[in-house]
Symmetry: C2
Subunit: 352 residues, 2 copies
């Protein structure tokens, strides 16, 4: 899922996303709550209508941004009290409020409100946050079901088909992960996410925890690894049982001139591309690769033109979506293991 933090995938437009085949994007509850506000988006007909996008949207719950962005946060059993990173205004996010906000946004998949376990964390810290996340998951689900039943006092849902995913925490402690997975599955959601990874732990540990946790989650429900990762991570984690991902890497790196191609990574600032009239990735059929040369992309980037970010973002998202498409095809044709080995060899071999 390309990340559309503030109701927009940075640097490109909705028609670009359609053109490269994005089937679902992510919006951030924390950012949209702060600006322009869930009330305003609700009044204007929900997030799809507000941003002009009629394909699916997943909204996170704000839990991760409270952990990574918010200032002066205080976590209690009630919820998370924090200051906006924009203007210092105080907010209280509770499981009920995070659920209500996502109801107003009308996303297709809402996420439970959780407490992200920091890395590194002591076992006690991890256990506390994990168990609280389970209790919050129960409150989120209750509120969600009340809203779906249109019980009194709940906001009216602009998307009656909304699904809700629970989030497994537990840090790098596999027994806590197992406990969290079992308890979250016990609450019962339409899908399950693995949160609190890719926050600084070694990559092998991330793979190991993702793999062991994915095995513990029901096979007939989507398994979503939050905030991951590189193209290699996608392939490796699918091998470990993951179905869905979101990450700012393709879009953020694009803006910095870091491009992903079928022949490995390209830093478009590199002087070797100044004279290179060839396409960024000859195997890619995106607009950027069809129309422009590496020399032009480098020129735009060095000259500080915004269109560099747009063209690069378009390509990186296409590369990520193509990778997922190739994974699905390989699984369907039962050639995934072969694909995996070839992909890791071709993509990981340095700068072409």
């Amino acid at each position: 899922m390309p990340v559309g933090t503030q109701g927009a995938v940075k640097a490109i437009r909705q028609s670009d996303l359609e053109e490269v085949g994005a089937e679902i994007i992510l919006g951030n509850t924390y950012h949209l709550l702060l600006r322009p506000g869930d009330d305003l988006i609700g009044r204007l007909g929900g997030l799809h209508r507000f941003i002009g996008w009629d394909r699916p949207i997943l909204t996170d719950s704000g839990g991760f941004q409270v952990y990574s962005l918010a200032q002066r946060r205080a976590i209690t059993e009630e919820g998370a009290d924090f200051q906006s990173h924009l203007d210092g205004a105080r907010y209280l996010l509770t499981p009920e409020r995070a659920t209500d906000i996502q109801t107003r946004l009308g996303s297709d998949i809402a996420m439970a409100f959780d407490e992200c376990v920091a890395f590194p964390a002591t076992r006690e810290q991890a256990a506390d946050a994990t168990m609280r996340s389970v209790r919050w998951a129960e409150r989120c689900r209750r509120r969600f079901l009340d809203v779906q039943a249109r019980a009194d006092g709940t906001p009216s849902a602009s998307n009656s088909g909304q699904a809700q995913f629970g989030i497994v925490q537990g840090g790098t402690f596999q027994d806590l992960r197992d406990e969290s997975a079992d308890a979250t599955v016990q609450v019962g959601f339409e899908g399950y996410a693995i949160g609190g990874l890719s926050v600084g732990e070694p990559i092998d540990q991330m793979y190991a925890v993702a793999a062991a946790t994915a095995r513990r989650l029901p096979a007939d429900r989507p398994r979503y690894l939050m905030g991951v990762g590189t193209p290699e991570d996608l392939v490796e984690c699918v091998a470990h049982g993951i179905d869905m991902f979101d990450c700012v890497l393709p879009t953020r790196n694009a803006r910095n001139g870091q491009l992903f191609t079928s022949r490995g990574r390209v830093n478009i600032r590199n002087a070797r591309y100044a004279d290179d009239g060839g396409p960024l990735d000859p195997q890619c059929t995106c607009y950027t690769c069809r129309r422009h040369s590496k020399a032009y992309l480098r020129h735009l980037h060095m000259a500080g033109e915004m269109s560099a970010a747009a063209l690069n973002t378009l390509h990186n998202i296409r590369f990520y979506l193509d990778t997922m498409r190739r994974i699905r095809d390989a699984i369907a044709f039962q050639t995934f293991e072969k694909f995996r080995q070839e992909f890791l060899r071709s993509v990981s071999t340095g700068t072409p």
Copy 2:
């Protein structure tokens, strides 16, 4: 002509320009000389190929940027010696060199190298720059014809169909303008531009000089008013005999949230648009107006999203091109004077 200073119209991509119906864009010789350099662009097949744009391109000669951007400039009869505003490197632009650079770029319309008259200027200053520009125009034309004839020592032309326009100077002194126009026409170009206006003089004076100078230029050749202007300026100056314009106003204002519509100007930052679910301009059929609301455009702008600049630029260019299309239609149907009155009334009446 939308302005593509560094080989790109800021914030949008070439397919956007095609979509809104741009038939010609402008590139800046000064900027392209400094970065990435005319040699590199020439090696890669010329400017069209370098930027991936197969419709016409007009390149200016650098004269205006030497005046407005370059540092420590010294003008002699030979040419303009100046420092790059990017890195302080020294350059010498002469009439011959400005012509050769544009040959290498392979634009469809090249401009003669001139000395822009400052405003205010004494009569003596204006006369000096104007007469030097005439002598430079002769040198530009000679060089251009030599190149076309593929005389020895000239760069090979990547665009054998290139035209060259002369530029009339004279500041706000109409007798100097007349003298410059006559002498430039005497040299003989495929078209004629009026330069050195819109540099700070009162608007009525700009209109008056443009009108009187346009009358002095041959009716069977394009008359191009450089660096102008507002939508109202386009209509007024066409009334005074001008055929072509370029200006950064639609693109620069778009990036600042200043939008042109059929009902007047819109400052999208205005809080009144926060809740406005309607399109920016109901009469406009551009992507931005078809797909998004003023509320969303305001949100993107306030949130600092690059896509705000892209969507706004797309609309403003469409509005400018639509205005020119409507002018052409009105002339063809002999209803121009009626159109002019209605246009000035509807567009100039404050913020809707």
